[in-house]
């Protein structure tokens, strides 16, 4: 007679439509797939609270001070850290430090050692290269060597198999490896949180940031606003921030209120029905956060709309509504937030961009313009956030399995899925993990950048 409570009732999430990945991971499917040379998307290792950071040994390569510091750090995290490895052992990760290269010839020793262990990298293993920021090098040979590491890393990403990834950490010229931001980025890249991030570079530019007492609850005690939280990626972000310890203020337009209430109830947060394009949207967010929580630490601008048309068929309302919701609302709300005392203690802003904004997409001039605009906004806002030890970053999802992509024509969807190094679509949770990382205190050294969560998609690479 009684209905189950909302807490124990699983909320409707898009059904997985990737039957190919399911099939190819059966015994028969594996054999057929291998015979035909088909792509073999592997189940990815994803983060769950309490999960080990790495199951097996992590090899640290490079004879630099950064390498030494990294090895010590990983030891403190209880990892099985090696500077050498036997030929039979499976590696959970390799951190290859190229931070001291000053000419292309300096790359070779570490590259060859990396080559020697590449086949030993376990499924969902990690390769992380560490380099100094090429843009800060004036000497052509130095910059050439640094840029070379980027090319190496991206190609390695393409060569990875079975859910393994390769990413880079770009350190600002004079930054010491002991900066909290370095630890934060390394841990994110090693963990299952970065499952769908490959071929990307995370910059650490400052000594800002603090490491959590509990790495499973990095947002403990914090208050986070998520716009567009009623469904899809926004709902996943709300759930992930909540799992990481944050109190969530779930925001969406009033007509989405029923789904929004369900999400808010699931994460024990509050539902705030609000049109983010309203003149007073920023004030209402601040007012709500102040009255109900007395603080505001994180704002995730996830709300976005598409009104696709070829430019020749574009009308004023399709153009202006997309620009207003996806871009102008964020600019407007950020201005209000940054004028407020409430949002001044190492605040975090994370905006949702899109690979469409990087690569362009037919029929999406308005959407791509808004999303590229977000990247510009994020880069230009970083200094102002820096002045309050805060950060602002964007996350650009690639092909993510959502209700929206489930409605794509089958062939187009199947092609879009396989066009990346992991040969599969990401999940809303993958985007949410990256958002949650950038929102965390440990990500304090990273600001003004756009991080792609695309499995190293070919588009816009």
């Amino acid at each position: 007679m009684t209905q189950r409570t909302a807490q124990s009732r699983p909320t409707a999430r898009p059904r997985p439509t990737d039957t190919y990945t399911a099939l190819v991971n059966t015994e028969l499917g594996r054999r057929i797939g291998r015979a035909l040379g088909l792509p073999r998307p592997a189940p990815l290792r994803r983060h769950a609270p309490g999960a080990a950071l790495a199951d097996g040994p992590v090899l640290v390569l490079g004879e630099t001070s950064v390498a030494e510091e990294v090895a010590q750090l990983l030891l403190r995290w209880g990892l099985d850290v090696r500077r050498h490895i036997g030929p039979e052992e499976r590696l959970s990760g390799v951190v290859a430090c190229f931070d001291a290269v000053s000419s292309p010839g300096d790359l070779q020793p570490t590259v060859l050692r990396l080559a020697g262990v590449q086949r030993q990298i376990a499924p969902s293993g990690r390769v992380i290269t560490v380099l100094r920021d090429p843009e800060e090098a004036r000497d052509p040979a130095v910059r050439a060597a640094r840029r070379a590491v980027e090319g190496l890393t991206r190609s390695l990403g393409r060569e990875m198999r079975a859910g393994a990834t390769a990413n880079g950490v770009v350190l600002q010229e004079s930054l010491e490896a002991a900066a909290p931001g370095v630890a934060g980025v390394l841990r994110f890249l090693l963990s299952g949180r970065s499952a769908f991030v490959s071929g990307q570079f995370l910059a650490v530019d400052s000594v800002n940031g603090t490491l959590p007492e509990d790495w499973d609850r990095p947002l403990a005690g914090q208050v986070a606003v998520v716009t567009g939280a009623a469904r899809g990626i926004g709902a996943a972000i709300a759930r992930t921030l909540h799992r990481d310890g944050a109190q969530v203020i779930a925001v969406d337009v009033p007509p989405a209120g029923e789904a929004l209430a369900t999400v808010a109830n699931e994460v024990g947060g509050t539902a705030l029905q609000l049109d983010i394009t309203a003149e007073d949207a920023g004030d209402r967010i601040l007012e709500h956060a102040e009255q109900r929580h007395g603080r505001l630490d994180v704002v995730v601008h996830n709300a976005g709309i598409t009104r696709d048309k070829l430019l020749a068929n574009m009308d004023a309302s399709r153009w202006s509504s997309v620009i207003a919701v996806n871009l102008e609302a964020q600019l407007h709300i950020n201005r209000r937030l940054l004028a407020s005392e409430l949002f001044s203690q190492a605040p975090r802003i994370v905006s949702l961009a899109s690979t469409s904004g990087i690569a362009g997409n037919r029929g999406q001039t308005n959407y791509a313009a808004s999303k590229a605009g977000v990247m510009g906004m994020v880069a230009a806002s970083a200094p102002e956030l820096e002045s309050r030890h805060g950060t602002i970053n964007a996350v650009a999802p690639g092909f993510i399995e959502t209700e929206m992509t489930a409605k794509m024509p089958m062939i187009a969807r199947e092609v879009a899925r396989r066009l990346n190094s992991l040969s599969q679509g990401g999940r809303p949770e993958d985007v949410a993990e990256t958002v949650a990382f950038l929102a965390s205190p440990a990500a304090g050294g990273t600001s003004g950048m756009t991080l792609r969560v695309c499995g190293q998609n070919l588009i816009g690479a």
């Binding site: 009684t2 909302a6 009033p254 007509p255 109830n265 947060g269 609000l274 109900r292």
Partner: protein
């Protein structure tokens, strides 16, 4: 004290919510309230409410609805029944309990669905079926069932007629309106103002934190923002037709049958403060009254005139002391007749026991965000709608007062006073 409210949009009967039960609707309204105020896992002092149109199987409607929400299942709940004043009575008595210190928090409200109304069999058929169920042998049972005749099988829709007069509420109101000389024009004007005020409130986002959508309905669907006096004036009367030319009550100046649910969160100051919840308004007082309507001496829907007289006298207040006045628009003529009665010296002396007229209500303060003619009137949900909206109106105006009048079937009514915080 009123912390806030949540309702689902009100929808015209047999339309958008046709497949939803009263329990579905009340559960959804409660879920939205929980989400708005982060009450997940909270054990509240009490949840009370009810429905006028209720299946016997829903004897524990509010408790069953509560069990479908993230509220702590150890929160007690009970059903209330006072016709259209159900929501007001639930909220008022919960406020009393909080003031007494018996509980620190509560949710009051109500729900109604014409689309989920119980269909009842005839008394004759019921008698036969009961006899059959008492039968001890198959033969006895067959004998009993053999008495069923085709005429017994016609279902009986729940009546809204007054059991003691056999007259519908509209017919009763038509008599009262005629007695008070309420014109067609002023009723139509009141209806138009209701639609315009409600439309304006929706447009400026007034309901953003009072309403959570349900079943893809985001807005009260009875609302006709583009209505005009001419259009309203063209409708034929539906009640009091025996008055001929003098009939004034149409489908537009009477409330439409509507489905909906509304809830209000109440709490002590300590409860609100300890959870950083808003404090919109104080629920100062409420008063129940009834009229002697059966022999026609008094109007069926005029009980609030008595309640108001007692309540205002008790507090030494007049209508001039109220910033906002909410009179439930059962019919436009109900509002107008109540106001005329309060202005009428003779009526106030003879029927309300006052020395003179209770006073005139400034029309610019009346139903400023629309009322039942525009929003619709899911009977038991109306009290929750009015209390939450008025409390929000009064928020930020400390000391300013709001007045509520809700009439009900059976010749009953409730009035209440809210004070802004």
């Amino acid at each position: 004290m009123i912390i806030g409210g949540n309702r689902i949009p009100f929808a015209r009967a047999h339309k958008a919510y046709a497949g939803a039960s009263t329990q579905d609707m009340l559960t959804s309204a409660l879920n939205g309230l929980v989400a708005r105020f982060a009450l997940q896992g909270e054990q509240l002092g009490a949840v009370a409410g009810g429905a006028v149109m209720k299946h016997p199987k829903n004897f524990n409607l509010v408790r069953e609805s509560l069990l479908g929400t993230p509220l702590d299942p150890r929160t007690p709940a009970h059903d209330v029944q006072m016709a259209c004043a159900t929501g007001m009575e639930a909220i008022g008595s919960l406020a009393d309990k909080i003031r007494l210190g018996r509980i620190d928090s509560a949710v009051g409200g109500g729900v109604d669905s014409i689309s989920d109304a119980p269909i009842v069999v005839t008394d004759a058929l019921r008698g036969i079926l009961m006899e059959a169920s008492r039968a001890k042998t198959p033969v006895q049972r067959l004998k009993a069932l053999a008495k069923i005749r085709p005429g017994h099988l016609a279902p009986q829709a729940p009546g809204v007629d007054e059991p003691r007069t056999g007259m519908s509420m509209g017919e009763h109101m038509a008599v009262t309106a005629h007695q008070w000389g309420i014109t067609r024009r002023e009723q139509d004007e009141l209806a138009l103002a209701s639609h315009q005020n409600l439309a304006a409130a929706w447009d400026r986002g007034f309901f953003d934190d009072l309403v959570t959508p349900f079943r893809h309905v985001a807005k009260d669907d009875n609302l006709r923002p583009d209505s005009t006096l001419e259009r309203l004036g063209s409708l034929a009367p539906v009640f009091g037709k025996d008055l001929g030319e003098e009939a004034t009550m149409t489908a537009a100046n009477s409330t439409a049958l509507t489905d909906g649910a509304a809830t209000v969160l109440l709490g002590s100051e300590e409860f609100a403060e300890s959870r950083d919840l808003p404090q919109l308004a104080t629920f100062v007082d409420h008063e129940l009254a009834a009229t002697d309507f059966v022999d026609g001496a008094e109007g069926l829907l005029m009980a609030p005139t008595r309640a108001a007289a007692r309540m205002l006298t008790r507090h030494g207040l007049t209508f001039d002391d109220f910033e906002y006045v909410e009179i439930h628009e059962a019919f436009a003529s109900t509002v107008l007749a109540q106001m005329k009665a309060w202005e009428d010296e003779e009526f106030c002396r003879e029927h309300l026991g006052l020395d003179g007229a209770l006073g005139r209500i400034d029309r610019s303060r009346l139903n400023v965000d629309g009322s039942s003619l525009a929003a619709g009137h899911p009977f038991a949900a109306t009290g929750g709608r009015i209390v939450a909206s008025l409390a929000k109106r009064l928020h930020g105006k400390p000391g300013k007062l709001g007045f509520i009048s809700v009439c009900a079937a059976g010749g009953q009514g409730i009035t209440a006073i809210l004070e802004g915080r």
